[in-house]
Structures are given as structure tokens and as C-alpha cells.
Symmetry: C2
Subunit: 309 residues, 2 copies
């Protein structure tokens, strides 16, 4: 219980890494910054020079990507044995963050590339209906996994968990369960990362794998963002200075992976006073011109409530 152990030498075998889930949404396209040919999230060591974890992250992300980080939120911290090192008794503490940026990530940065995040989670995009991969691959595979359990009780529980996660048996799709779904697929041995340590399943579910737990971290970030947009005005961190309500809606839908009722969406945004008209109109792609809006930054000082949906 003593705050600082006598065994100082033990503590010296610890390092700290910062890992970032850096998200943008240009034109309603949900993207995440990756490195190493999209097999890893950007990460860097936490160094003594950094004032704090948050500023450490901000420093090197801005240095690497060239754009300012609008919003940062801590995701999760975990400890692993240092896989890279010679000395397997070293521990690395990884602190992961979610960051939002509105910069146009068109030009690939020198060190990394922006990828549509559904490349990693093809089953998560329900904007155009449920992806076929769910009924074609995931449902039968999870059925087999459920049936493979020894006791009846366990079989029932496995299938119920699968049904809740993926909305089988009349249950609806819940877009916030991104992390639970990934973890379920992992336990069932259906993703490549699981096959590295456990018995792999006969057939893997499609979706780009990543190093270590990076894909799990990404899932954590997506899940956090999907819940957060509902009660905090964070989408605006991803929007350009002026935008139409449809553009805003498309951004929300891109993140949530589901579509929303257009009229109700507008009602919600307007009655919460989240935006104000710029006075200009957009010369959009076909159809009646739309008013341009900007985010009312004052809302950040007002209620710590309000979001979208």
C-alpha cells in the first residue's frame, strides 16, 4: 500500500507508449490514420520532456501529421509484456487516445495513410443495410462456435451473446457495441489476431487485421465516438467551418454506421441551437440549394449537454 515501493529497480523496467486513434471524416468518409501499411496505429514513446500525457500526444501527432488536433480524449490504458524487447520481463504501459481532426487528409502524410475504418470492420457499416458478411459468414460461424460448447447452459449463453451483439433473432442492430463485437469475434477465433495465440477457426471473418491489440484499440475508439456523438457536440470537430445540414448528417451517419431520419435529425440539431446560419447558400450537387451553417461555439460554454441523435 506504500505509494512508492522499496523495490525501485523493478519499476525501472517499465516504459510508456502513447497510441492514437486519429479520426477524420472528409465528405462523410470515416477515416483513421494508420502507419506501416495500415497494420498499426501511430504510436510513440512518452518521454521525460513532455509536460503531460496529453501534450505529449498532441506534440508528436501535430508534428507528424501537420494538422492541429481539435479534440483529444483518453481511451484506455493497458500493460503488456514488452513484445519487442530482448528482455521479456520489461513491461510497457500503453495509453491510448482518441483524437478528432477536421483537416483534409487528402495528401497522404509522409509516415502514414488515412484508411476508411470499415476496412478493418466490414460488419460495422449498416448505412446501406446490413452488410452481407454478417448473414453469410458471421452468423453461421458464431452458430458453430455456440454449438461447440460442452454444456447446454454455455451454448445458450454463447448464442445469446452473439445475438445481442449482432442483432440476431429480431433484436435490432446496436451500433455502439463495436468493441463487444470485436471481442466476441476474437474469442470465437474468427479474427486473425486471435489465430496468433489460440486455435484458429476454420474460416476467418473478412476485415484487415492489425499488429498487437491495435484493432481492439481502434474498436474502442469507434465505440467511444459512437456513444459520444449522442450527447456531446463532438461531430463538429470533424466538420469544415461551414457546412449544410445534410453534410453534417452524412458525417454522423458515417461515424455511427447507420442512417437517420432526415427531418428528425434537422429538428434535433436546430432545437438544440447547435448551429447558426452563415447567411450563405451552397451550390450543391443537384437539388435545391441548402443553407450553410456554422457551429455555435458558444454552446461549449453553455450546457455540457446536447449532441446528435
Amino acid at each position: 500500500m506504500a505509494k512508492h515501493s522499496e523495490r525501485q529497480q523493478e519499476r525501472h523496467a517499465i516504459g510508456a507508449d502513447l497510441i492514437a486513434v486519429l479520426v477524420a471524416a472528409p465528405n462523410g468518409n470515416p477515416v483513421v490514420l494508420t502507419i506501416k501499411d495500415a497494420t498499426a496505429l501511430p504510436s510513440g514513446p512518452f518521454e521525460l520532456g513532455h509536460r503531460s500525457l496529453q501534450s505529449g500526444l498532441r506534440d508528436w501527432v501535430e508534428q507528424q501529421t501537420g494538422h492541429p488536433l481539435g479534440y483529444i480524449e483518453q481511451l484506455y490504458t493497458f500493460a503488456d509484456r514488452d513484445r519487442s524487447g530482448e528482455d521479456s520481463s520489461r513491461r510497457v504501459i500503453s495509453i491510448s487516445y482518441l483524437g478528432l481532426t477536421r483537416e483534409e487528409p487528402s495528401r497522404a502524410t509522409p509516415q502514414g495513410s488515412w484508411r476508411n475504418w470499415y476496412e478493418f470492420f466490414p460488419w460495422e457499416d449498416h448505412r446501406y443495410g446490413a452488410p452481407p458478411v454478417i448473414v453469410d459468414v458471421i452468423e453461421p460461424a458464431l452458430r458453430r462456435w455456440g454449438d461447440a460448447a460442452e454444456q447446454e447452459e454455455k451454448r445458450r449463453k454463447r448464442w445469446q451473446r452473439a445475438a445481442v451483439c449482432f442483432g440476431f433473432d429480431e433484436r435490432g442492430w446496436n451500433e455502439e457495441l463495436t468493441l463487444q463485437r470485436y471481442e466476441l469475434l476474437y474469442e470465437a477465433g474468427l479474427v486473425e489476431e486471435a489465430a496468433r495465440t489460440k486455435e484458429p477457426a476454420a474460416q476467418l471473418v473478412p476485415g484487415r487485421a492489425m499488429d498487437g491489440d491495435h484493432r481492439r484499440i481502434l474498436a474502442t475508439g469507434i465505440a467511444r465516438l459512437r456513444t459520444k456523438i449522442k450527447y456531446r457536440p463532438v461531430v463538429f470537430e470533424l466538420m469544415p467551418p461551414a457546412f449544410t445540414l445534410l453534410q453534417l448528417q452524412r458525417a454522423v451517419e458515417a461515424l455511427a454506421g447507420v442512417t437517420v431520419h432526415k427531418q428528425n435529425f434537422r429538428r434535433l440539431i436546430e432545437q438544440q441551437d447547435l448551429v447558426e446560419e452563415t447567411g450563405q447558400m451552397s451550390s450543391e450537387t443537384g437539388g435545391r440549394p441548402a443553407k450553410l451553417f456554422r457551429f455555435r461555439h458558444a454552446v461549449l460554454d453553455e450546457l455540457p449537454a446536447a449532441g446528435t441523435k
Copy 2:
């Protein structure tokens, strides 16, 4: 961006601490485990032998307190220069957790004591109306703090922030803003911890101070718990195996620091199927006997939704 820096020696100057906000609520009394005469939260070093951060925490908390930890949730991770050490360039990463236990913490543990958490935040308990300290001390002090700003714009913003946090000017009390309120009082120099590094205000707000940022961590834990009970059935981690609906309500009120409408509370709990009757009745303190209920553990497998309020 390289995951493992060349400068290995720098990373060796890092240590890791686990800090716990351990909560119980016997008889609707919200208590937190403290050490050092209630000036600190229990904490211990993360050691190489621990399988994971979570199990590390679980190990030493159970060893110290003697009761099992029902529910654990990570709160926040931050890095500080090592205040204890000789070498000020060492860094300590502190990973804080919220833990819930249902054990009766009557007998003081050898190392620590359970304290009502409102000893640390007297302004947070609105179960018996707004505490007088708010209108007597906090409101005038924050008014002075607001007026002390140079520019009109800043004065307005300061007061608006205070009003949102504490519900001044017709705004209602929002019990979830525990952390924001503590941070506001800190910035305004109204808590003892702030006086250690900044210019202290003329008069401090009552409430027991703690070492370092422990009181801020406690505020984080309370805030998290107050939001969580609304959409997850976590209160039950604090309840005995069988309880009346009023006992359950008292526990929720103790955590939230506000009272709820009795009939509506029951309606909510029952329609969500969170509990089931044990078949027994309680021979309570005066009044008509109440049915005893138990938590339906099956709900944990069902919807990842549902809570109280």
C-alpha cells in the same frame, strides 16, 4: 513515430502506480476507502509480477481490505513528475480505477478507513436540499472570482461557467458535474490543494483536502459512478443479496446526491426487469412490510442497457 525509442535509458525513469477509488454504500451511506487519516486514496505500485493492470489492482485491494471487488472500471491515467523522489526527472504514471464492493465495511481495515465521501465534497450532497455552503460560501466566492477577471468577456464566461456548474441563475443542479465543480473551485483557488501552488483565495471552501490530486481522482470516480448508474445496473454491486426497493432507492440517492420520485423509481426498476422477488418480506423500521428483491443476474447477459433513473 518509431514504437520503441532508441533512448531506452529515458524510459527507465518511469514508474507506474495504481490508485483506487473504492466505493461501498452500506445503509445508503456513500463511503470511500482512504488511508493516511483520510488524506489519500489507497495506491500501490504496479509490479512486474502482475498479469495485467486490472488484476494487479484486484490483487492488492483484496489483500488489503479482505473483501472481493465486484466491479472494476478504469478511470483515468496521468503522468506527473515524481514528487516523492530525489530525482525530479523521474516520471510516475498513475492509473486510477473505480471499484465497487458490497461488503460491510464496518470494521475499519488495518490500513485504512471508510469515509463518507461528502466529507470531501460537502457541496455535492443535495439529498436534503441544497447545502447551505453553496449559497453562503461558494456563490459569493465565485462571484468575486468572476469579477476579478480583467476583461468583461472573461468575467461573463467565468460567471457562466460557475452558474452552469452549481446551477445558479435558475439553472438546475446537475449532479453529474462533480469533476467540473471541483476543477472550477480549484481554478478559483478555493480548495486547499490549489493553495499549494497558486495564490490562495481569501477564504477556502469547506471540505477535507487530500494529497496530490487524490481529491480530483475521487471527484472523477464519483462523477463516473453518477453517470453510470443511469444506464448500467451497477448499483447492485453495492447491495446485499436481498433488499427492498426503498433500500435500493436510498443507495442510488446516496451516490447521486439527489432524491428521486419514489413511485417512478419503482416503475423504472420493475419495467426493466432488473429485479425479482425473493418471496420474503422485510420486517422493517415501522410501516407496511416491503417485499424483498434480488438482482436478476441474467440481465447482465441480456441487454447491455438499462440502469436506474
